[in-house]
């Protein structure tokens, strides 16, 4: 990884098309300004990680996989504080 030290007001150029400006440094937070072509996707890394994991999780199971999944998690299921925590009746639809 390339490491550079920059102060507020300074910039980094990536190729000619992308500029990252350090706008403000306040305590533990840095405010960045990014200038890039519209075709470049810019996102917070946390959101990218979350999106990928959400999509994988939604696709990871089908109806028939549930018993296997259940067998993996059932030993952790029974604690009383879990029941209090979920308060299942506020959430559950009365489906039959």
């Amino acid at each position: 990884m390339l490491v550079m030290r920059r102060r507020a007001g300074e910039s980094i150029l990536i190729d000619d098309a992308i500029e990252i400006q350090v706008l403000e440094v306040l305590g533990t937070r840095v405010k960045l300004g990014i200038v890039a072509p519209e075709s470049v996707l810019i996102q917070r890394k946390e959101v990218k990680i979350t999106r990928d994991e959400n999509i994988t999780a939604a696709r990871s199971f089908e109806h028939q996989d549930i018993p296997l999944l259940l067998s993996k998690v059932s030993s952790r299921a029974v604690s009383a504080d879990v029941k209090n925590l979920t308060d299942v009746f506020t959430l559950t639809t009365k489906s039959t």
Binding site: T50, A57, A58, K72, S74, R76, S79, T93
Partner: protein, 157 residues
């Protein structure tokens, strides 16, 4: 009562006030705003976060404390605002809010199921709204092993 198609339970009838609104959706599913949490005795403790409008959009959740009973949820002021809770407040887990994590079944990229402690689903039980509140200190792929600390799990009975 309205009915919806679900991924795991065929057609289900639900109370209109049993839904939760995710006004921004969640990353990857930004267009799905309305979810119902389904739970059945046969699949306890799993919860199914089912989109009302899309059958295939369903997530399996576990209460976060069932996965990590020392879990510490940190909500930023932006998270609290999205949940319609006062800034700098400390909502009571189980009473004001519910926090649950998505489970991903084992597959090519993971030998055992994992829980996403990095992106817990947090809902305001009174307002019936929810967000995915990112917690950078936790893993998005926390392995779920059934042999993990069985004594400890028993101890909290």
């Amino acid at each position: 009562m309205p009915r919806m198609q679900t991924k795991c339970f065929d057609e289900v009838e639900y109370a209109p006030d049993a839904t939760f609104e995710f006004s921004s959706g969640i990353p990857g599913f930004e267009t799905e705003h309305t979810f119902v949490f389904l739970q059945r005795p046969a699949t306890h403790p799993l919860m199914f976060m089912q989109s009302v409008s899309r059958k295939d959009v369903c997530f399996i959740l576990l209460p976060v404390l069932a996965v990590d009973r020392h879990y510490e949820l940190r909500l930023s002021d932006e998270d609290l605002a999205a949940l319609h809770l006062p800034a700098a407040s400390r909502p009571d887990m189980g009473k004001d809010i519910l926090c649950a994590v998505m489970v991903c079944a084992a597959g090519n990229d993971r030998p055992q199921p994992t829980a996403n402690l990095y992106g817990p689903i947090v809902v305001n039980l009174k307002e019936r709204i929810g967000i995915q509140a990112i917690q950078t200190g936790y893993s998005p792929r926390h392995p779920l092993t059934s042999q993990e600390h069985p004594e400890e799990v028993k101890a909290c009975l």
